[in-house]
Point group: C2
Chain length 140, copies 2
DNA sequence: TTCATTGCAAAAGCTTTGCATGTGT
DNA sequence: ACACATGCAAAGCTTTTGCAATGAA
């Protein structure tokens, strides 16, 4: 389970398992969609949980490093994040020499597509992104 | 030419054509790739041109409105911009009911693709992005 | 002349950090 | 006990804004 994964990550790296870090991961697991650090802090505060802004800001890089959340860019200037698990879709890099296919997933890319669709009042159902080029081996 | 386009935009909108605005647009036209406001300010300053940071920040929205530059998101938290003219490529929204095709172009999307490729050491040649769904008419 | 624009410096908003205190391991 | 973590408040950065002075039309 996600929470355990984070705890294991902390132990493994020699970081400490603190009440604050537990409450932060718990809260993230209850959230849907993207969030920014201050939003997360305020949610914790509203619930009466005592975690400082500093701890929230300091814990986020750990969550990113552990692979639990990912940064997502937005049009405004704040940093936004979302759980990695929220999307299982992925796109492809296709090598035009050897045919190798590399799968990748970028939440930012997905979000930008949503923004484009919103601007055009287009109701997105699915999409297909293929990037053609040379893989590491074939480009040498 | 690009500069005239901006000047015309200013006049048309009742804004004034000032030395500062001219120097800002001149500088942007000499640049390649993306830039952030402070970078632009420093370039002007280095050249001995007297334009304040405030004016740079105040002029950027006008340039965006005039269609000369576009905002591009980055992984760091500063705003970045680039000349719209720098890319003529575009992608497609395709209506799965009436077949209508809407072209769009997002520099941010392009840049993200480049970042994905860089991460995978993939040498991009071209790409194809199609988003399928319902256009405004067909989704009613 | 008139009203937008400029520069400066102060303010604002988000994020980071120094330091003394507290706490997992 | 030791090293890392926390909270607070101060500092850092980028961007915005109030205001008096300046300048385009």
């Amino acid at each position: 389970m996600e929470k355990q994964k984070f705890m294991d990550f902390l132990s493994l790296k020699g970081f400490k398992v603190t009440r604050e870090r537990e409450e932060i991961i718990n809260e993230i697991l209850t959230m849907k969609g993207h969030f920014d650090p201050d939003e997360l802090y305020l949610r914790l505060k509203t619930k009466g949980l005592k975690v400082s802004r500093a701890s929230v800001y300091r814990t986020i890089p750990l969550l990113v490093e552990s692979g639990l959340i990912e940064q997502v860019e937005r049009v405004d200037k704040h940093a936004h994040y979302e759980k990695v698990s929220e999307n299982s879709h992925h796109d492809h890099l296709i090598c035009i020499k050897c045919g190798k296919v590399i799968e990748f997933y970028s939440p930012t890319l997905e979000m930008l597509q949503d923004e484009v669709c919103a601007k055009e009042k287009f109701k997105k159902v699915r999409h297909n992104l293929e990037i053609f080029g040379y893989c590491e081996n074939c480009s040498r």
